[in-house]
Structures are given as C-alpha cells and as structure tokens.
Amino acid sequence: MSRLVVKKIEDKEIVWFKNSNLYLVLEQITADILLKIDKKNSLEEIETWAFKKIAAPKNILHKFIEDVFLLYTTNNTLKRDVQNNSEAYKVPTKHYSVKYYSIHNCVFKIQFETEFHLLKIHPTFAHLEIKKTPNYNFKYTVFNNKNSIVFFKDDIFIGKWNKNEAHVFEGKLSMQILIDIYKKPETNWMGVFHASAISNGKESMLFLGDSGNGKSTSLALLNANGFDCIADDFVPIDNNQNIYTYPAAISIKKKSVRTLLPFYPELENSAEYHFKKLNKTVRYLPLKNINYDVKLKCKALIFIKYNPKIELEINSISKIEAFQQLIPDSWISPLEKNVTIFLKWFLDLPCYQLTYSNNTKMIATVSKIFNDEL
C-alpha cells in the first residue's frame, strides 16, 4: 500500500507522507525516485533508471539515491502526535462559570472551572449566549489537571494541553462546536484555515496572512460594504470543498477601532481585553446576519499584507509560494482521502498577493476579483 500522495505543482511535485503528515515540494525526478522506492523497487533498479536520466558518475548517483532512500525512511517513521488518554480524570463538580449558548439550533452548556478558561472561550461566543436552560444538546467541561487544560464533551475525554498550547485547546473546542452544529465528524472536514472568509452571496474568498496584516479589519470593512462575513480566524471547509459559516466574533485590535467606528458604532462601548504577553488590546465584533445554510465554493486565496507605503498592489503569486504560506498555518485533515481532495482544491484555485494601505481601493479590488474583472 502506498504511503505517499504525489501531485504536480508547477515544475515540481508535492509529495505527502501518510505516516508523518508532512508535505515536501521536490524536483520531479526526486519525486519519481521516491515513488519507485515506495513501490519497492530495489536500489539497483532505481540506479539503472536514474543513470539514464541524470548526468553524474555512478558512485555519486549511488550516494544520491541512498540519500533519497534515507529521506523516504525518515519521513515515514516520524510519528504523529497522539493525545494521551491513559489518565483517569476527575471532572470537577464546582465551576467558576457555567454558560449557555445557542448556535445553529443547538444549545451548548459549557462549564468553566476557572476564570482563565472562561476568558479563553467566552468573548468570541458571548453574542450567542442565552439564559440558563435545562434543555441543552451538548455539555462541555473545561478544567485544570496538573497544570494542563483538560476538555471533556459530556463524559468523553477530548484532549489536554499545557498552558503554552492554550490556542490549540481553543481550536479544538471550536472544532468540537463545528462538528456538533453541522453534525459532521472531523473526518468529513478537509481543513480549517487561519484566515478570514468573505462572500458576495454566491462565492467566497479567503484572506490569509500573518497576524497584523489586516485580515480581520478587512473582513469587517468588507462586511460594512455589502459583503457577507463567513468566518474569522477559523475557516472550516468540508471534503466537498464547501466553506461553512463559523459564528465566532471578529477580534478587532485597538489600532483598527478608529477605522471601523464609523461603520460599527457599537465598538465604542464594547468590552476591551488586554493581552499582556502579546502587548495588544482587542474588542470583539459579532458577525452580522449569520446564515448557517450557505455553503460556498472558494473563488480565490488572497494573501494580504498591510504596507503603509503602498496604496494597493495586486499580483498573482506562484502556487509554490502560496503553498509554502498556506500549509504551516493550516490544519489539513491528515486522512489520505482528504489530502487528495485538498491538493486538488488548492491547485485549481487562483492565488493573489494583495499589498495595501488604501481600504477603499482594497474593497474595489475584492469586488473586481469576485466579478472576474481583474
């Protein structure tokens, strides 16, 4: 059985290693050698084949192919991280706070053992909070155990994370909400992208880029200019390549509040949260007119970059460059079936780099991309 998925990208090949969930972008001939190794060809057979293709002395070529064998073995023996579920946990009966949320016709009861846990989750879902009710569909419990955060759904252990991985815990809880509201198991999701998703009602576009480049601010501005918000920071796509709405609030940094106030006066009085470690302050802006029934195809990937010296520049970028930016920032389902779907999805999508400082021009450019006028 093959342990690789191989797909052409421009003049190179993407090779995905099933056992380690790593993606390599290689020269075609090296990928061919990896495939031959995977098909159990012997070193001698591969050498004979490669000697006709590569102009190098036999002893040097021998060393090269040995090195590719080593690459194959190394990447196939790396183990994926597996959550340890061997401990017995005592789920607390006392909680700092118990909140109820109504999300897409489901009621969630979430029990937080400490204020820290509450502050990790509640601000992005506060707009969905409802009054206490005995009729809930799902009960989540979050508590400390030996300096780790532990998360249970009903009486089932979901995971535990140390304090440096609190954002992974938040991601996992967000994923569990996604699974529960759409009744789709994790295996049916192609990926979750660290992006903002907007829509013109027919199609969607993903804005990607490092923190501080205006993904969330652009999303809020586009929303104020007639586009729909689909998701911020956590963009789920299922294995039919549909983008789904995710209702977490948009986090707005202090420096963006002034830009957005004319459109969102409610930001003036909304609660402000300060992160000491990250030295930043944010407010949360709920998505408006959440529509859980829209399932949209992706029109393009836009890698955005804020640059005060440039009004607006938009360029197509190479697939390889886009792939390098996309993969380290994304959760891609590690199932072979989903990896194949993901690679096909990505390779068919146009990718752009948008550098801007002029918001009006940015909004006009996004309209043009949606209307095929670029």
């Binding site: 390599l24 090296t30 040097i60 820290f116 609190a166 938040e170 380290p328």
Partner: protein, 56 residues
Amino acid sequence: MKKQTKNTEENITRKEAIKKIGSYGKYAALTAIGTYILLNPKTAQARSPATPGGGF
C-alpha cells in the same frame, strides 16, 4: 544527509523550510535536484494565540 528540523507552527519561515538531501561536491546539478521544501501543517485546529487570560 542534513538533519531535519521539525518546523513548529509558531516559527516557520520559508528559509527554514528549504532542505537539502545531500551535497555532491562539483555535481551542483545533483545538489539542486536534492533541494526540497519541507512543510508541516498544524497538528490541531488552533486559533490565533490571541485570546485573553493572564495565566493559571
């Protein structure tokens, strides 16, 4: 073969992602064929490390 550094989700840069299978002296073409990009997707569906809370 160079030891591979596992990229973590926080600190990947494209420079770190470029690896070489080996070095083959004057056969630079072979060294070029053996140059590749290693990319490590996130192992879980993390959110931005940016929500409030000052510690345990």
